[in-house]
């Protein structure tokens, strides 16, 4: 199949190469994959219903029966951690989906057209950016009402600026490149240029930003749930478990540690992966790294 030259920058095939070369990224990918698999197969991995209250078994320490012990209502913590992963991941997917779609569209359009339209779009984004993200997310969930969906929407909205600014920067650079001129010279419409030229060439930074924002979304969701504004009981949520667990630190420190550990693994995995991708895909950084290595080895 013929591929026009301006779409060749497509980055996915590089991903495997990155993982092969960068051990950090590989570890990150494995950690994150483990979280995803655990969440997907939560039902099969643990015999316990995460919602089943068994008061006579409450606040138990880890044992063969309950790998991470039980919570204040006798529910199996391991099971709740795995199921909590589903909530965290789905918030991540929805939030980043919203932010990446809206943000990238706004950024590309603003960067490509510039002028008053670009100014309006980017000042809107700046307005969003002016609020501390967590505070804005709290205000939004408080207004919309606490729920998983609303938390995801709120986090998505506060994440838009990161994607928008990145896309605008890409668009500004890419629209000056020869292959963009070439596409236009071939009679490509604005829409074609935006979708088939600018977007594919923006995919590398977009992937990096996605991994980092996904990690942030999980953290923000945990923070909202910790504050009672996120996922509502009895649905398990890492942030809410962290909050409840701290009240029972005396009885079982495992409670909070398990919830905190789950957040740590997911976020660390995504950040390692994101770092690896950035190192590999960002031409400036790649250059810097080479230069640094050259310096180190020259003396």
């Amino acid at each position: 199949m013929h591929t026009p030259p301006w779409t060749r920058a497509f980055a996915i095939p590089r991903l495997l190469g990155v993982l092969r070369r960068d051990r950090g990224a590989l570890v990150g990918a494995l950690l994150f994959a483990a979280v995803v698999l655990a969440a997907l197969f939560a039902g099969a991995l643990t015999p316990y219903d995460p919602l089943a209250v068994r008061m006579q078994e409450r606040l138990q320490l880890p044992s063969a029966r309950h790998l991470l012990g039980t919570d204040e209502l006798g529910r199996d913590l391991f099971s709740r951690i795995l199921h909590g992963g589903r909530a965290s991941l789905s918030v991540g997917v929805v939030a980043v989906g919203i932010a990446a779609t809206a943000g990238t569209a706004m950024g590309l359009v603003a960067g490509y057209y510039g002028g008053p339209l670009g100014a309006v779009l980017m000042r809107t984004v700046d307005g969003l950016l002016a609020f501390p993200a967590l505070i804005l997310a709290m205000a939004l969930t408080a207004t919309l009402g606490p729920s998983l969906t609303n938390a995801a929407i709120a986090i998505g909205i506060v994440t838009i600026p990161a994607f928008a600014r990145l896309a605008q920067a890409s668009a500004l650079a890419i629209k000056e490149r020869e292959f963009t001129d070439a596409a236009r010279a071939c009679g490509a419409s604005d829409l074609y240029v935006l979708v088939r030229v600018l977007l594919p060439n923006h995919l590398s930074p977009l992937m990096v930003q996605t991994s980092v924002s996904f990690a942030n979304a999980i953290l923000t969701e945990a923070a909202l749930s910790f504050l009672g504004l996120g996922i509502q009981p009895p649905t398990p949520s890492w942030g809410a478990m962290l909050d409840t667990g701290r009240r029972y630190l005396d009885q079982t420190a495992w409670y909070s540690m398990a919830a905190g550990g789950a957040i740590l693994v997911a976020v660390l995995g995504l950040n390692l992966l994101g770092d690896g991708l950035r190192d590999a895909l960002d031409p400036r950084l790649r250059g810097a790294r080479t230069a640094r290595l050259a310096e180190e080895h020259s003396g």
Partner: protein, 519 residues
Amino acid sequence: MGRRSRTMLTRRQFVTGAAALAAGGALRWAVPATAAPATGPPPARPTPGGVLRVTLGAEPTTLDPHRSSTLFDFHVKDAIFDGLLEDDFTQGPKGQLAESWESPDASTYVFRLRPGLRFHDGQPLTAEAIKFSVERSLTQGTGQPRVLVEQIAATEVLDPRTVRFRLKAPNAAFLLDAADIKVVPPNFDERNPVGSGPFQFVEWVRLRHVRLRKFSGYYQNGRPYLDELVFLPTPDENQKLVLLESGQVEFTDTVPLPRVQAVRQAGRVRVHGIPPGVSPSSYYLLTRADRPPLDNLKVRQAISFAIDRKALLEVTFGEGTLKSNAIPPKHWAFNPQSVSFDERDLPRARRLMSESGVGAVTLQLKHLTSRAEFFPIAQVIQANLAEIGIRVELVPQQIGIWINQVLVQRDFQLGLTGVIPPYDPDSILGNLFSIRRVNGRAIGWRHELFEKQLDQGRSVVRQADRKRVYDHAQLIVQYDAPGIILNERPILYGALPSVQGFAPDVRQHMHFHGVWLAR
């Protein structure tokens, strides 16, 4: 929620609660022997002196005894101000400022003051001060203190030591109210509150402490034993315990439930509390009983049968008592023949649900956040009701919002709170269920016969007669389940072993005039 029912209270609650407060005759306030606080073997002779530092869950809102509204206001006010009678009635009425009293009929009460009473600033306390305090409560008071005196038609000074109250309507339980009318001098100034209680005001440093010192002119010889009493606002329960264990305070107004057992075992700190089954303190689930689906009797019964109160007892770590009746099991008015929901009956709950004709339904449960255990209790209810096809959405609310939405706006389906009505069965049943009072108004449950029983209970005097009335009232209210009682809410205090002579009372009031420190 009533006169001094608090924990979760507001003025509004008081208002109605207090209005409610009528009851009892010249009753013998029979309470089982277990009600006597068990604080170990009788201590040696009290030694005077020392400072007692006490944590308070929150800063008091005012030290004006006629405007107090929170439990914390009451804790401080009880130390500075005395009333005509002591306010713990579990052992029967005991005189405080009054040395004797009589009631020719249920609308007239005459009190004779002790001789030689003085305020902290040295001016004599006479019948005029009683009259002034009643009038001040009426004109400048708010909430419960004001409602208490609204029933009084006239206050007459018969001589410097005798005062007579004429009530607008008969109230056989007026003595209980008289105990809560705190007495202040005519030149009372809120900034330097002067009373006649065991401790006198020294200073109030906002967010730091309220400092009181011994009133050497107190009417009880030798009391108080302490030189100083200091209240330290400390919102965090665990922090309170740290302060206590490290000797930075001698007394805490609560003990975090998850840690009670460990604290008892460690033995460095003593846990004081009310023996189980005596206090009318309860966790209380209000239902909006005049609107579908909770206007359906069978749905309410199904809910009460579906809730696993044994599991709830685990939530409070075994503290408190299993109960589903507002009248505590060891109370003289308790009726064992009325419907009990103590034992969970899931099959019956499911049957009632299907008979009710109400299909799968979602109910919102608004619960308080003021105590850590409300959330797990709400979650147990949520899990229990899921088994009978009721989906429950939990809405945690701070106390001010909860009171406004549930009690004032009546914008709720299920509401979870904690209550401590006064000890009289009229107050207990009336404050929780009567349409004429706050909680009952929120619930919206109208039952003429029940209301008539309450009226009758106020008009008869002999305890045996009253018991028959309240037996009947319990049959009605337990069958109809307009509000659902979920076990006794434990009342616990922490104290260093050196703290002697503390007697917890069933209404969660703290009295320190008999407390002393062993050396």
